[in-house]
Amino acid sequence: MTPQPETQAVIDAEIAATAHAYEQAGVEETQPRVDYAPYRSSLLRHPTKDPHHADPEGIELWAPCFGERDIDPLEADLTIQRGGEPQGEKMLVTGRVVDGDGRPVRRQLVEIWQANAGGRYIHKRDQHPAPLDPSFTGVGRCLTDDDGTYSFTTIKPGPYPWRNHLNAWRPAHIHFSLFGTDFTQRMITQMYFPGDPLFALDPIYQSIVDPKARERLVSTYDHDLSVPEVLMGYRWDIVLTGSHRTPLEEEDHQ
């Protein structure tokens, strides 16, 4: 017996109750909760004990290095990987990766992956019947430049259905994987698009219970980045958790 899927209203009520409790508590949170029941897959997959505080030492004060040997510059353009022009709205996304003190994260790896314009991933477990696009893989990589800037040319991804509850749809997003100068800055996140009507309904986005914190995942449309008759430009800057390196050490590693 398969239980009846829950409705959006059930999820909405849980999201609202948590948001209310957060407001009442009055203690600012800036990261998602790992224990967030409206995202049903998290129920058995979150630690129940608080993380243990550690002072970074040894290897943790350093990060892996990537370079020209690892990444082909063409990997930053997701619209040329298969020879033909992919379907959908061509876009540029660019921004800076900085640490908690605003210092650029230089020459470091940024990886992205995303659905195509119809909301379909090239993945055997994606069962959304939207068509695959033979001209689009949805995978990109680049290195930040000396100013910490990354840049990808791609196609705006579509929203897609998933099975958290009945009529569940993910807001359109691009997955980002980031490294810093310290191992402790490693992170993976998702970038969203401004004004998406699915924000309020999405338990993954709402797992960041603070409204200001959630907005840090939303890119801005930047008309100055748009290229006439070619593509639309979006800007999204990323702040990693504070580096433990002092400015002096930073100089030593130039």
Binding site: H46, G58, C65, D70, H123
Partner: protein, 182 residues
């Protein structure tokens, strides 16, 4: 002190398999290299079920305790030890790395830095996989963790080094947070 607030994390989701894995991602050294060891384990949830959609990364010093600062993890040349590895879990929840045992960095106990990502896990988790102490005194972190410290130490088995990750429940792995997080 940090002046900017960090961008929030989000789950890696279910569809990373065509994007993040790369050829040689889990082979920090070629199998058969002198000193090569298998580091492996299973990622399980609160019901003890294996996760077939988790991603484990390691970051480590070389056997002499030198922190590698060499590029080439994504285009392994068979000679350069970069210290970074990435392994998605298989249908049994198992990840594997072929690597070298890390040496002591700055006099500390040798350990692998470990990050865990998974569908259903809303933010990355950090932990350490210490080499067996073999009589060495526990360091400040292991001591402060108390009776859960065993979850941070690899076991030697017939395959090499075993380090299981339990996200929740009995034997829950100790996960770490560092100054500047949250």
């Amino acid at each position: 002190m940090s002046t900017l607030t960090a961008t929030p994390g989000q789950t890696i989701g279910p569809f990373f398999h065509y994007a993040l894995p790369f050829d040689g991602d889990r082979e920090l050294v070629a199998p058969g290299t002198p000193g090569a060891v298998l580091l492996h384990g299973t990622v399980t949830d609160g019901a003890g079920a294996p996760l077939q959609d988790a991603l484990v990364e390691i970051w480590q010093a070389d056997p002499a305790g030198v922190v590698p600062q060499r590029t080439g993890s994504m285009r392994r040349d068979g000679h350069t030890f970069t210290g970074f590895g990435r392994s998605s879990t298989d249908i049994t929840g198992r990840y594997t790395f072929t690597t070298l045992e890390p040496g002591s960095v700055d006099g500390g106990l040798p350990f692998f830095g470990v990050t865990v990502f998974a569908r259903g896990l809303l933010n990355r988790l950090f932990t350490r996989a210490y080499l067996p102490l073999d009589g060495a005194e526990p360091d400040a972190l292991l001591t402060s963790v108390g009776d859960r410290a065993g979850t941070l130490v690899v076991e030697r088995d017939e395959h090499g080094l075993r380090f299981d990750v339990r996200l929740q429940g009995e034997g829950e792995t100790v996960f770490l947070t560092y100054p500047g997080h949250s």
